[in-house]
């Protein structure tokens, strides 16, 4: 056991991982130019394994930081020489670094970013994710309620078979396209193509650097429905008409859309105001007067640039606005990040540790330097 603790708490692991993180930061920063910010983050910092040049597997940012976290935890818990009064500064620094990594972990696992669009006079309790998609299957057979079965993007990979007790059929993912365009078929489609794919096909496009400009698409096969609905279907983001199918007397709609999160409260837009720079079409400032409605009780709040609304782990920033013929709509960036305080707290803790360690060592430094001693 002692041997294991000695290995896992070795400072060498920390040194290797921090050097490797620096390499990843350089590679990720350079990659942004070619593949954009989001794709670069996913490839170098959020992945367990990063494929260099598409062929060489190396540890990704996530696994590197997990190894660092385990190593630091063992160091703090089991390195006996750290728990001495003369090492108090070093110990505090280690604890600060641990908190920083824990905060990063919380952000990676639980954070989400999206937007909420609300027209004047309307309310919303829904956040649409910026990056993640979902395949939504709605059973619309019931007169009053729609039953939603939602499959998140991570399981929409090629070859995956999706099934759920709510569905009386299976879905096999044929392809998931990060960016695509629908093209009118020039020749008749085969009989196994159904719905939109009878007239159109989805052509894969090179993903845009700005992820929000991509239009994901999916082709899938419905199987085991025991009806003529078995076949190959297609969907793309922003498709005006959802794919429908009647399977065993149940009506279904299939949609690919940005991942939706429903909040336990709603926001009603009372008034949207914008101030433009004189003589230009450039916004100087804009603000949204809203009602935060929770359990039926409204509370009036003003959301302005740099003055977000924080509620139940969510932060709503004034992000943009939409002007239409029937009025204005506000666009609020909704960010949920449980780890947002960790960088501040851990930086303060590490600074205190560094300061204590420095103060403790000043007499020693002065003694060692003969010139200063004189």
């Amino acid at each position: 056991m002692k041997q294991i603790i000695k290995i896992v708490s070795s400072p060498k692991i920390f040194v290797y991982t921090i050097i490797w993180l620096m390499v990843l930061v350089v590679l990720g920063t350079l990659a942004q130019r070619d593949i954009g910010l989001y794709a670069s983050q996913q490839k170098y910092f959020s992945a367990n394994i990063t494929w260099l040049g598409g062929i060489i597997p190396v540890p990704g940012g996530r696994i590197t930081m997990i190894i660092m976290l385990v190593n630091l935890t063992f160091m703090v818990l089991f390195k006996q020489n750290l728990w001495k009064i003369k090492k108090i500064g070093v110990l505090i620094m280690h604890i600060g670094a641990l908190l920083l990594l824990i905060g990063g972990g919380l952000t990676a696992i639980f954070s989400s970013e999206g937007n909420m669009v609300i027209e004047e006079g309307a309310q919303s309790n829904r956040v649409d994710d910026y990056h993640d998609m979902e395949l939504t299957i709605i059973n619309t057979s019931n007169e009053s309620l729609d039953k939603y079965t939602v499959f998140d993007q991570p399981i929409l990979g090629k070859g995956n078979i999706l099934s759920h007790e709510n569905l009386n059929f299976n879905i096999e993912i044929i392809s998931y396209l990060r960016n695509c365009e629908p093209l009118k078929r020039t020749a008749p489609a085969g009989i196994h193509y159904k719905g939109m794919l009878k007239n159109f096909m989805l052509r894969s496009l090179r993903p845009e650097k700005e992820n929000s400009r991509n239009r994901p698409g999916i082709t899938y096969r419905i199987t085991n429905s025991g009806s003529s609905s078995d076949g190959i279907y297609g969907l793309f983001l922003g498709q005006s008409v959802p794919q429908t199918a009647v399977i065993n007397n149940q009506n279904y709609e299939f949609i690919i859309r940005r991942k939706r999160t429903y909040l336990p409260f709603a926001i009603e837009l009372l008034d949207f105001k914008k101030v433009m720079h004189t003589g230009t079409g450039i916004a100087k400032s804009y603000s949204s007067e809203v009602n935060l409605i929770e359990n039926g009780i409204p509370r009036r709040v003003l959301i302005e640039m740099n003055e977000p609304l924080r509620h139940k782990g969510y932060t709503f920033f004034q992000s943009s606005f939409i002007e239409g013929p029937e009025g204005e709509a506000t666009v609020l960036a909704a960010v949920k990040n449980y780890g947002r305080s960790f960088p501040y707290i851990s930086s303060i803790i590490m600074s205190i540790g560094l300061l204590l360690h420095l103060l403790k060592n000043i007499p020693k430094l002065l003694q060692k330097n003969p010139r200063v001693a004189e």
């Binding site: 041997q3 290995i7 896992v8 070795s10 060498k12 692991i13 367990n48 394994i49 540890p59 996530r62 696994i63 997990i66 190894i67 385990v70 619309t140 007169e143 009053s144 309620l145 729609d146 039953k147 939603y148 079965t149 939602v150 499959f151 998140d152 993007q153 991570p154 399981i155 999706l162 759920h164 709510n166 629908p182 093209l183 009118k184 719905g195 939109m196 009878k198 007239n199 159109f200 498709q239 005006s240 008409v241 959802p242 794919q243 429908t244 949609i255 429903y262």
Partner: protein, 189 residues
């Protein structure tokens, strides 16, 4: 020592490679009153019009004028066209007047009744005999028409698609399939 450290790193990677996240969710929502992708008003018109039809999936129901039984935005590779379905009493103003009015809208000279009859593609649909007109001005390709006219007992049904000349050629087959799918609602039962 190095060997042990590498073993530790590989063990952590192996343990964390397993994605145990649950990526399937279910929930119920009360039916939306105004879903963006459905057009209840148009559907009601369709029901109350007494006709049924089967449209291609990508055709988008839109709000047309009050005279229309239904309207659709019809996408094609370089744009989208406007399709309208109208039922007018009697002959709806007459074949000659209508066709020449459409021809005038795209800069074509009027034709005599005989010339118009010669231009028509005649056929039989569920609703009765129909006439299909392809109105394209090669010098003014931005707007062209496909029209499908069916005289009924006491009225005339007009289905008109307005798109660019290229769009008309691209959409003609879908348009014909759509027009031929139109039936009187009672005939389904």
């Amino acid at each position: 020592m190095i060997k042990n450290q590498i073993t530790f790193v590989l063990l952590v990677i192996a343990l964390l490679s397993c994605d145990s996240g649950n990526h399937t969710r279910t929930y119920h929502l009360t039916k939306a009153k105004n879903k963006s992708f459905t057009q209840p008003a148009v559907e009601n018109k369709k029901e109350s019009s007494g006709f049924t039809w089967e449209k291609p999936d990508l055709w988008i129901p839109t709000e047309g004028s009050s005279m229309r039984l239904a309207s659709f935005e019809v996408p094609y590779s370089t744009g989208s066209g406007d399709l309208s379905i109208m039922e007018l009493g009697g002959s709806g103003g007459g074949l000659e007047a209508n066709v020449n009015r459409w021809r005038g809208q795209i800069g074509l000279d009027p034709l005599t009744k005989i010339e118009i009859e010669n231009e028509a593609e005649n056929g039989v649909s569920e609703l009765g005999t129909y006439q299909l007109f392809r109105l394209i001005n090669l010098e003014k390709k931005e707007s062209a028409f496909l029209t499908f006219i069916v005289p009924l007992k006491s009225s005339t049904l007009f289905i008109k698609l307005n798109a660019s000349a290229d769009g008309i050629l691209e959409l003609e087959e879908d348009f014909k399939i759509f027009c031929l799918s139109i039936k009187l609602e009672n005939s389904n039962q």
